[in-house]
């Protein structure tokens, strides 16, 4: 047992920290620090900077243009990104589809799509959920019927995050109604410019149009866009979910959120003194910080077991529950910290390019929105209830 990084790992950490200092554009990190949204262009700019350094695909093997880092290096990278207030890497192409194509895609698909993910030519979105298929993902009904060398796709996806930015969508579609639900699902790559696709925004509780409904009306998709074998999509879908759950603990994001909370609690006044000196509030902060310290080590214990390029198993369900609960508690405490200034609805101050003067202290504007928006963390990617079922089945064997 040794909790310290090795010499090489320390050198790697320095290299990443220096990179962040030199290459992360200040207008971008300022927005992230203040909890403001980043538009499509901001993400693309940051992806391009990372790609140039070879850091964009931290979890891909070298042969596909990835960084080829091991789990500890990836952890260090995530950590340094959060500390520097770098935007998150948009996961749909890099953490989700990439690993699936590497494991199950054809040589042609790998050669065509993977470089386009790295270069930013393609922005992917995830077409899993449907109105009737949420937690029960295997109930997807969007159908793909083979006609000659095409599939004809009909149906509806929903909750599609940032679908408004995407030019491509990977979908779970039903190709067979025989047998078990899981045995009739295929994994299909769809160009969103194809006729018959319509994207409609869904406004979330904090006022942001972050997700979408995507409708398919007789959409013609070339048969070569099928990943792997027909009716084997469920296997690939689950493989993707385990990758989606890497870095699910969000230690870096919570560390940054804790730092922000403490900064705010030092600036807020309570009874003529800084709020952070209020013993009740300080105790609340201390409780989450203690959780976060332990979670950080739980996270390292889990990720260091996973081999390079691999995702952790059912243990990632524990990380997801703890990670989201800690993050949500930090968001709730930050909301409490700003007192009456949680009340103004400040949507326009959050938009990119807005010069609207904030109401109250500048750190207050994004706080209430973030609290509500991050309730999603315990719902998507397999709700926390579903994660608990996975733990009790797969780990506890109940």
């Amino acid at each position: 047992m040794d909790l310290k990084y090795t010499q090489e790992q320390l050198a790697f950490k320095d290299e990443i920290a220096t990179f962040m200092k030199e290459k992360l554009p200040k207008p971008i990190s300022d927005r992230i620090r203040q909890g403001q949204e980043l538009g499509k262009a901001g993400y693309e700019q940051w992806h391009a900077i990372l790609n140039e350094a070879g850091y964009l695909a931290a979890n891909w093997p070298k042969e596909f243009g990835g960084a080829g880092w091991d789990a500890v290096q990836r952890h260090i990278f995530e950590d340094e990104m959060s500390k520097a207030h770098a935007p998150r890497i948009v996961p749909f192409g890099l953490s989700m589809l990439g690993p699936v194509l590497q494991a199950f895609g054809s040589k042609e698909q790998q050669d065509y799509y993977l470089p386009r993910i790295l270069s930013g030519e393609d922005w992917w979105c995830q077409g899993y959920s449907e109105p009737g298929a949420g937690s029960d993902l295997a109930a997807v009904r969007t159908s793909a019927v083979r006609e000659g060398d095409h599939y004809i796709v009909n149906g509806q996806k929903t909750w599609t995050t940032l679908g408004q930015f995407a030019n491509k969508i990977f979908c779970l579609v039903r190709t067979s109604k025989e047998g078990k639900l899981q045995e009739g699902i295929s994994f299909l790559l769809v160009d969103m410019e194809t006729p018959g696709i319509e994207v409609r925004p869904i406004v979330l509780i904090d006022g942001t149009p972050e997700v979408n409904e995507v409708f398919f009306d007789n959409v013609k998709v070339p048969a070569e866009n099928l990943v792997g074998e027909e009716n084997k999509g469920w296997t690939y879908a689950k493989y993707l979910l385990t990758h989606e759950r890497t870095n699910i603990a969000g230690v870096g994001a919570s560390t940054a959120a804790l730092e922000n909370l403490k900064r705010i609690a030092r600036l807020e006044q309570d009874g003529g003194k800084p709020l952070i000196e209020n013993p009740h509030f300080a105790a609340r902060i201390a409780r989450v910080e203690i959780e976060l310290m332990a979670m950080s080590t739980t996270n390292l214990r889990v990720v260091s077991q996973a081999a390079a390029g691999q995702a952790p198993g059912a243990e990632s369900s524990m990380l997801k529950i703890k990670g989201t609960v800690v993050r949500q508690e930090l968001n709730a405490l930050t909301r409490m910290a700003i007192g009456p200034y949680a009340m103004p609805f400040a949507s326009e101050a959050m938009e990119e390019g807005s010069n609207a003067e904030p109401v109250g202290p500048d750190y207050a504007a994004p706080v209430t929105g973030q609290y509500f928006n991050n309730r999603k963390l315990s719902i998507f990617g397999g709700s926390n209830e579903i994660q608990r079922s996975i733990i009790s089945k797969a780990i506890l064997q109940l």
């Binding site: 959920s129 009737g132 949420g134 937690s135 029960d136 109930a139 929903t158 909750w159 869904i202 406004v203 979330l204 509780i205 006022g207 997700v211 807020e268 006044q269 309570d270 009874g271 003529g272 709020l275 209020n278 009740h280 509030f281 609340r284 949500q328 709730a332 909301r335 409490m336 007192g339 009456p340 200034y341 949680a342 009340m343 103004p344 609805f345 400040a346 109401v359 109250g360 209430t368 609290y371 509500f372 309730r375 999603k376 315990s378 719902i379 998507f380 709700s383 926390n384 209830e385 608990r388």
Partner: protein, 374 residues
């Protein structure tokens, strides 16, 4: 001991529930959000006509009820439909303060409030006063017949629509002293008064208020307004707690309904035991919230040391339960609970904001410790 409503209150509840059901459709609320006032003048007038505003005042003040249980009844009904009308600001706070401290001429304003023609706002909270009721930095100085106020007020709910502001300012004493706080009436169009208006999370509007030598008339004794402010604040805590209870009941019903109708894995999700148990917890905490509101309603006009124990106990419990109800109901809805369009979004936001007015759960925990534990 009797927990039933009197006949008069039962009638008021039935009438108000019908009125709100007819007028407070989700579409009507969306129209309100898009409008300039933060509320609907039509609904406001019907509330006045039905006597709902009058029910918040005692007979001495021109009303016809005004006990704690009347206040609780009215605000629970408003909460059930997620109403955004500024009844707390215009009636409980504004009207309440003028009724408590005003002279005969000033009290004509209360008549206007009860009739529905006057809007008021209480400009008391300041940018760094947080939930501290006696922390006032704004100052007032004598100028001829009246006074002039200089200072800043924060998140003044309903200021954009108010005809008059009730402004607190210090005429003596240091920033946190109870003595030395005076109450003033300021006309909305007074010289030197600047408002920056904005919408609130969960509905309604507010302003950041800057006062630069604004002419003002004293209401009540110079330097001696604190006692009345604390008494009116207690009624506002009762009102917002009862509103929170109504919001909780509405959210509870919506969530139970959803658990019965949403199917996953071939069954209604309400068949999953983990959700049954969590919904049961929510239901029992909402009963606790109801009891806390009853406790405060029964003591809101008691002597300050008794009253304030109940103010803090109730507001602490309401704040704690509100968070649980909001977070659990969103979670049990899944994705649909995250949307703006679905009814839950508005109710959940409004319920969450209850903790940010008149002291949050922690603030009242500390006050309760000071008053009842330590």
């Amino acid at each position: 001991m009797n927990f039933d409503l009197t006949d008069e209150r039962q009638m008021l509840q039935d009438g108000l529930r019908r009125l709100l059901a007819d007028s407070y459709t989700p579409d009507a609320r969306k129209a309100i959000e898009a409008g300039d006032n933060g509320f609907s003048p039509d609904i406001w007038n019907s509330l006045a006509e039905m006597g709902v505003i009058g029910a918040l005042f005692g007979e001495d003040d021109g009303g016809f009820a005004g006990a704690g249980f009347d206040v609780a009844l009215v605000f629970e009904e408003l909460g059930r439909v997620g109403a955004v009308d500024p009844l707390i600001d215009t009636a409980v706070l504004g009207g309440g303060l003028v009724a408590a401290l005003g002279d005969a001429q000033q009290k004509e304003l209360v008549e206007g409030v009860i009739g529905g023609g006057v809007q008021l706002a209480f400009a008391h909270v300041e940018p760094t006063s947080r939930y501290d009721l006696s922390r006032v930095d704004a100052t007032a100085e004598k100028a001829g017949e009246g006074y002039e106020i200089t200072g800043r007020k924060a998140v003044v709910v309903n200021a954009p629509a108010a005809n008059h502001l009730l402004v607190t300012a210090r005429t003596s004493g240091k920033a946190s002293a109870e003595n030395g706080i005076s109450l003033f009436l300021v006309a909305a169009d007074a010289a030197g008064l600047r408002l920056r208006n904005y919408p609130l999370v969960g509905g309604g509007q507010a302003s950041e208020v800057v006062l630069d030598k604004v002419p003002a008339t004293l209401v009540g004794p110079e330097g001696g307004a604190y006692e009345a402010i604390a008494a009116v604040n207690a009624r506002a805590v009762l009102a917002i707690s009862a509103e929170a209870l109504g919001l909780m009941e509405a959210i509870k019903e919506l969530t139970i309904d959803y658990l019965k109708t949403r199917k996953q894995f071939g069954v209604p999700i309400g068949k999953f035991q983990v959700l049954q148990h969590r919904m049961s917890d929510v239901a029992l905490e909402v009963e606790q919230a109801r009891s806390a509101v009853i406790n405060l309603a029964g003591h809101v006009d008691a002597a300050p040391e008794v009253r304030d124990v109940h103010v803090s106990a109730t507001k602490n419990l309401i704040g704690t339960v509100a968070r649980q109800v909001v977070e659990e109901s969103i979670q049990m809805h899944g994705g649909i609970g995250m949307t703006n369009e679905y009814e839950l979004g508005h109710l959940a936001k409004r319920l969450t904001m209850v903790d940010h007015r008149f002291g949050d759960a922690d603030h009242h925990l500390e006050r309760f410790i000071a008053l009842a534990v330590a």
